[in-house]
Amino acid sequence: MANLRDIKRRIKSVRNTSQITKAMQMVASAKMRRAQDLALRGRAYISALANVLQHLSASIEQAGTSLMQQREYGKTLVIVINTDKGLCGALNANLLRETIVKTPQDADYMCIGAKLSPTLQRLGRNVRFTFSVSDNMTDVELKPIFEVIRRGFEDGTYNRVLVTYQKFVNVMVQRPNVHELLPVTAEELMEIASMDDIEDSREGNFLLEPTPKDLLTSILPLYVSNMLVQLVLEGKASEQSARMVAMKSATENARNLIAELTLDYNKARQTQITNELLEITTATRAME
């Protein structure tokens, strides 16, 4: 019976798919553990940097560093940290929605991750650059990207640099978020520094060596570039978590589908046997 063979073929193909999704789930969960680890550890570092910077804020105005300058003119640069590959549930779709709503129409866009670049272009946004970073990303990989951003900000092309990314909350929850990378503001420093448990007396009057200006010119770029690294790490952790969850539910769906199909298959098989028996008995009756 053709029907029987059809069902059998479908079971086989569903089973193959489920093996692939299962494998992807395993890979994602291994990568997730690493990415999650890096993202969580990085948070302590960035908030320690913010803590030091915050204490320097009194001398910031005299030093006049360009990375904190508020300007009226210039465009907005939006960095969209999305994924290179799909199959990670609604992660990129949610990020896209957030990006469209929260960023100005006429902004320039830079994509880290290739997935959303064509979509943004189709929506009429001006995508200037698209970068890809590997899963085992190091800060060296982001250095040229940071230099592009920094140059654009310092020569006045951009007066605001926003980053949209998926903040890693936990394995099940990733929240799309917009972070203002540049200019660095005092409120931002305070907020990030308070994430850590370092006690803070806010007395001020620090002895600064060698000079406030020297300190600021080295620590501020370090802070901003590490912030970018941190946001990409968050994005990676979110990506792997979302992919693991998506693949897990895909594997479960496949298993349900196989169960249903097997039931159908057995029913069809029984019908076939009944029919055959019927034919045999009718034939013997006729011969009597």
């Binding site: 320690a48 940097l49 006690e199 007396s201 620090f206 002895l207 300190l215 080295s218």
Partner: protein, 139 residues
């Protein structure tokens, strides 16, 4: 009241201990921090950071460049690397130095000025790391 020393790198919190005194390779020269030190922020160059634990022993770490903040007897060191002597692997460091040197020699025309200074800085840092390891072994 002893000092509280906290060393934070991007990869981990390398140390969170109480210390009686801390000797840091600050950018302006060696700097010793004792309890009751005035509030201070200074940049730190790569080198050996030594601290005395409340039990009287001394311990040390190799730290990369970064910053030191002292406030209310809390010393916070923010740095890109912090390694204990047995975490330093001389063979891989020598290989890295060799690789960086070859790049400097062969690609000096294509490398930008920034890349060159970055490579040179990383060589200097790795040499210091080797030196630190050597000193620890002879002790």
């Amino acid at each position: 009241m002893p000092l509280h020393l906290k060393i934070i790198t991007p990869l981990r919190t390398a140390a969170e201990v109480d210390a009686l005194s801390i000797l840091v390779p600050a950018s302006e020269g060696q700097l010793e921090v004792l309890p009751g030190h005035t509030a201070l922020i200074t940049s730190v160059s790569h080198g050996e950071l030594t601290y005395r634990t409340p039990s009287g022993t001394t311990a040390s770490l190799f730290i990369g460049g970064g910053f030191l903040q002292v406030e209310n007897d809390i010393a916070l060191v923010v740095t890109d690397t912090a390694l204990e002597a047995d975490e330093v692997d001389p063979t891989s460091i020598s290989a890295a130095i060799e690789q960086a040197r070859t790049r400097l020699r062969n690609e000096s025309s294509v490398l930008s000025r920034e890349d060159q200074t970055r490579l040179e800085a990383s060589i200097a840092k790795q040499l210091a790391m080797l030196e630190y390891k050597r000193r620890k072994r002879t002790h």
